[in-house]
Symmetry: C2
Subunit: 369 residues, 2 copies
């Protein structure tokens, strides 16, 4: 039997995984992690009101979710003061990135991003046959001007910027990002991934302009709202672009329980403020631990901190490995020179106590040569 | 501003929705439905153990779900007595159908299905540029021989069969389906959608043969397991085909809470048996109500019954509309001659009491001319 006839694009694609999950590593280690501070999850969890909404939705889970995500879109529209027709709700930003790429990218389409930026975006671009064109980070930050310049050169229909950035935690102010939006070449679209925006200083996000056809903004309930495992996020953009998602999205794809939980989470803004305070404190603790160990760390507008291990990629990898072996799950950037760092998510006090205890032990065994 | 440059495929696609959700209809009516028996949801809901699993998972929802769906795949492997490497877990059959179509279909690819079969499959095929080639139903059942013949003529890499069928509820026995699998042309793949299989007689599903590269089987937790709103289903097939999903699937797409709930639901087989009994009784009640009103109904191996309204599409539509206006949500097949029927899902006793009360009133107002 010759097997199925895959499309030519699929036949050439490797089977890849943007990230190995911590559960996979736990199975390999034969032990659970003691601190799970590697995937930028929000260890403080969701609002109790969101949990209550989940419990209530559990009983009604026999019903499909509303394919229009109506109630949530109405609440988001009110929250952001934009019309509901400018919002698309989807299966996390990961899911929405997949749809966006599918709208704009086919075989050979040039797509511009930063070298070492979000791998899942790259995974989707490659998966639809696009050609990744990259710009290096400058001083551990994405480079808006260079991204625009390359997009212009390549006539790329899609440009990716995460602000704040993942994996470095750095950010640009609203003015810089607005200048980038204004400079997007005619016929191009800026995918502005603001997954971490709720952790950033107030002047980080440019104001929303839903009539601007050159940018789509993505937000999520995975990070500040503490529900990475729920799979729900949203995009805000020009209404004709938002309508285009209806051509291809899995209309019933956002689960009923996710819609209910997101709505309740959004309504509990005082809990969000508590989270912001806790994350800020945890970031400071991580930076202190780094300092105590003679390591630099990067300022961060996210719920994680990039700690510069002071050596090369191999050295950072050894530090990372040492932490993992001792039960501390962390990750690291994949591309040099950012890969001299490890990336540590804001943990609970217990998580960071363990980090504080473990990091010097690891550094002792992993000597800089 | 000229706006984003969509791919040529996307530019040509209409914005369509495979199904309008009942919530949309409720918003249009300005009132909730009194009986929700139109979307083949399982009104009896999930196992209490699944609900308990959801409540427990709610607290941990800050963690991403395991991208390998390991625990659930292990349990499914044991349940079906197949290796875990032959199973892919995804965001409901709808999500998995999207991935499967993406693997095999590009612009102009012929795909074979029955005229009037599952619209969401068609939505995906059209969405990836495929060309739908259809075979009519025969006696309200899909026609395996004709599907194979057309696939052979068209050299179609993908053939769709739902067994039991939706929207008619009819089914073929295991021998017929196995003969169809055996006749799948070299290089073609049969997508065997068994969403309703748990409601069917025991000799409906051919035995699983994971070495057969000509078929992939899809199952779901949306129907018999009562969790349509959770978005979790799975495929069983040849391991190289299963691995191909890893090239394109949203690895973190299946929510943590869905994985936990599905695992608990699978482990509660005695609850599943209760559901099977309740659904069987509800089917009989629906058929009795039809008979009392002088209407024929089709035998069903699903959790719904197609009731023949005895006229044409317009007449069935008027009956459907009358029920909807009186708060009874039902749906109907979209293509003649199946569209002479309305499709009624197995409801609770209260749901079916309301149907029993309402149907004669509707038939009185909607006279056959």
């Amino acid at each position: 039997m010759i097997g199925p006839r895959y499309t030519s694009l699929i036949a050439e694609l490797p089977a890849t995984v943007p990230f190995v999950g911590p559960e996979t590593q736990e199975r390999e280690r034969g032990a659970q992690f003691l601190a799970r501070i590697g995937a930028n999850e929000n260890v403080f969890g969701p609002s109790p009101r969101a949990v209550q909404a989940m419990v209530e939705a559990a009983r009604d889970i026999w019903k499909y979710g509303d394919p229009e995500n109506y109630d949530l879109k109405q609440a988001l529209a009110k929250y952001h003061d934009v019309p509901a027709e400018n919002i698309v709700v989807g299966e996390g930003i990961d899911g929405l990135l997949g749809y966006l790429v599918r709208l704009l990218v086919s075989k050979g389409t040039p797509v511009v991003t930063s070298l070492g930026a979000y791998p899942t975006f790259n995974y989707h671009v490659t998966g639809f046959g696009g050609e990744l064109c990259t710009v290096p980070y400058v001083d551990d930050a994405e480079d808006p001007e260079a991204l625009i310049e390359l997009a212009s050169q390549k006539a790329a229909p899609l440009i990716y910027l995460a602000n704040p950035d993942n994996p470095m935690g750095t950010w640009h102010g609203a003015d810089t990002v607005q200048a980038m939006i204004d400079a997007v070449p005619e016929g191009s679209l800026l995918c502005l991934d603001e997954a971490y925006i709720e952790f950033a200083p107030v002047d980080t996000a440019p104001s929303l302009d839903v009539n601007n056809t050159r940018v789509i903004r993505f937000r999520t309930f995975s990070k500040a709202y503490g529900m990475a495992g729920m799979r729900i996020g949203y995009g805000i953009g020009d209404k004709s672009l938002i309508r285009a998602f209806d051509k291809i999205r899995n209309h019933f794809g956002v689960s009923r329980i996710a819609q209910a939980a997101a709505l309740a989470a959004l309504e509990d803004q005082s809990y969000l403020e508590e989270i912001q305070t806790k994350v800020k404190k945890a970031r400071e603790t991580i930076r202190s631990i780094a300092t105590e160990n003679g390591l630099d760390s990067l300022p961060s507008a996210t719920n994680f901190v990039a700690v510069d291990c002071g050596g090369d990629s191999a050295y950072a990898k050894a530090v990372l490995q040492g932490l993992i072996e001792r039960g501390v799950f962390v990750r690291m950037p994949l591309v040099a020179p950012q890969s001299r760092c490890i990336r540590i998510s804001a943990g609970t006090d217990e998580d960071l106590d363990l980090l504080k205890e473990t990091l010097p032990l690891v550094l002792d065994t992993v000597k800089l040569e």
